[in-house]
Subunit: 334 residues, 2 copies
DNA sequence: TTGTAGGCGTTATCAT
DNA sequence: ATGATAACGCCTACAA
């Protein structure tokens, strides 16, 4: 069917090994021979079968990346950053979209193992710690955007609790005491870490926790819209809202604009993640920067380095966040 | 090193062929034997090497996707839609990010050929028609978001000229006669098709074309900001602006908000693409919907169907656009 | 500098 | 129902 190394060898009048040496630029080949081989390759439009190469060299130059939603700008940035490093180092990237579905997460992992990926970059908040640990014994894993209590798993994450604390504190500093909180999905660990940060900040400020100020969300825009309606329905409304992620905060802004509710006048609003969009909405969103690009870069760099050095680098990265103050918050003291 | 089919065969006391039959659920295997093999597989944590399978079956279950920028919501949607279909049909997806760089586009194509991808979904506005045609002889191609004058290339696109015409006409209908145009990059065909739509609509309305109303852009947010400054600097400013894509229109909105220029009061604004963001900015952007999700779905569906049927489906899809009227345009007649 | 033999992990084909 | 053998396209190790 397709042109193989044998066809080229025959055409050039040499052995397959000589062709192989030319293809891989490895070992000694007489200049004259090389030229003959190269012209044969060109003439036949020879394309080496990387699958066959992989099989014999036991190296696939392939990394698998599994994320909940590529269209989500947050993960898209991560993927892009990772892809860049892969490309620079000669790796190709397989991508799997899980929709946050545990079964799909598992399936991709198994497929990528079967495809002999050299490693898997995994953003899968729902798989349980132990399962990840077992998996990591079979294939190098980089766990992104969550922590796993096992030293031998490479992980890249951010101190979400601290970030949420900083966000809440910012609102407290502006004089707000009645602060609504929009939470992420129950099953996602980061929902809880962010919640803890919120609760901690309140506690430190000596403000009693009020259950009705917490709205259970799920990280999507639509939920932000509903959250605002919920807060509007309260007898005593909050003066500020801390949203577990930017996407929901944007939902709030969107709905507020529709209802002619002024932000930051009626509600001061803080998000989390600093996605691309957050600086484009009106008002521009005050938020906690989440260095997702750096996470992607770090994840792959850590990984490829550790693959290369054989010396399983037992490193985890805890990246820095920053409060980015824009126009969605205002002081009550003014 | 790793567990092979031979290890399993030995453990179960059968031949490799029997194991293979169990793995692929193909051919006849006695129930008792099957159970023995399955428990051996489980005991050894056997994972079939798909690379080896690919080699012998001459089928890789792999599709390559090449886009200019995965983090751009436009392409991210496309990728996501495509990935979904791939996944449903048992294919895996390799992804390559080109940054619109011709050299990188070419490199990915060659790598994906070498990896024996069964097809390549290509969003590469810069590669020339003839090169694509040659390539398509070697590997099935689906060309997305551009047209190529060759019947045998599967292509999925949209009538950009018509879309731009509709957009411009909308502004004309609102009474605008001095309409600015922000163009896309020179080397991208769709920049020109959209430009033509703009020019055509003006011509039909009997409005003379004015060169100073055309600003040369490049499809990114930052350029929109500059475009607005440019229009502001004109002696006779336009009353409306048609932007070749939403991203640039969002840049205009962003800058207008900063400069306290009211949209749609001072400028009516129309975008193109209807990306996710366009309904989130304030004012919400009037735009031309670009059915990118459908394009992704269509692209892969067309492709896989044609792979399956062997009968190289010579189909191209010209999808429908729609004018989506939001809050960034106003009538001069009010 | 070049070539030969063998094997990577799997399946197709043909026997039994 | 099961197995032996060869082959997929390539490279490693060794020999010439």
């Amino acid at each position: 069917m397709s042109i193989t190394i044998r066809d080229v060898a025959k055409e050039a009048g040499v052995s397959t090994m000589t062709v192989s040496r030319v293809v891989n630029n490895k070992g000694q080949v007489a200049n004259e021979t090389r030229i003959r081989v190269e012209s044969a390759m060109k003439k036949l439009s020879y394309i080496p079968n990387m699958n066959a190469q992989n099989l014999v060299t036991n190296k696939t130059w392939t990394i698998g990346v599994i994320v909940p939603d590529i269209a989500n700008p947050f993960f898209a940035s991560l993927v892009k950053a990772g892809e860049k490093i892969c490309n620079e180092r000669g790796y190709s990237m397989l991508i799997g979209n899980t929709e946050g579905d545990l079964a799909i997460e598992r399936r991709y992992i198994s497929v990528y193992q079967s495809r002999m990926c050299e490693a898997i970059i995994l953003v899968a908040p729902r798989i349980d710690d132990f399962e990840l640990s077992e998996l990591n014994k079979q294939i190098p894993l980089v766990v992104v955007d969550r922590t796993v209590p096992f030293q031998d798993i490479v992980q890249v994450y951010l101190d979400n609790t601290r970030g949420a604390e900083v966000a809440t504190k910012h609102l407290l500093d502006l004089g707000h005491t009645r602060i609504g909180f929009v939470m992420g999905p129950e099953e996602v660990p980061n929902s809880h870490t962010r919640y803890e940060g919120y609760a901690q900040a309140l506690k430190q400020a000596g403000i009693p926790f009020t259950k009705e100020l917490v709205y259970q969300g799920d990280f999507i825009v639509e939920t932000g819209r509903k959250a605002l309606e919920y807060f509007e329905s309260l007898a005593i409304k909050p003066t500020a809202i801390f949203c577990s992620n930017d996407l929901m905060a944007i939902g709030i802004i969107e709905r507020a604009n529709e209802l002619d509710i002024k932000i930051p006048n009626q509600y001061s609003l803080v998000g989390f993640d600093n996605i691309f969009l957050s600086s484009l909405v009106n008002p521009r969103l005050t938020t906690i920067s989440y260095p997702i690009l750096e996470m992607g870069t770090k994840a792959i760099t850590l990984l490829l380095d550790s693959l290369l050095s054989e010396a399983k680098v037992q490193m985890s990265e805890n990246l820095e966040h920053n409060l980015i103050i824009r126009n969605s918050t205002r002081s009550l003291y003014d």
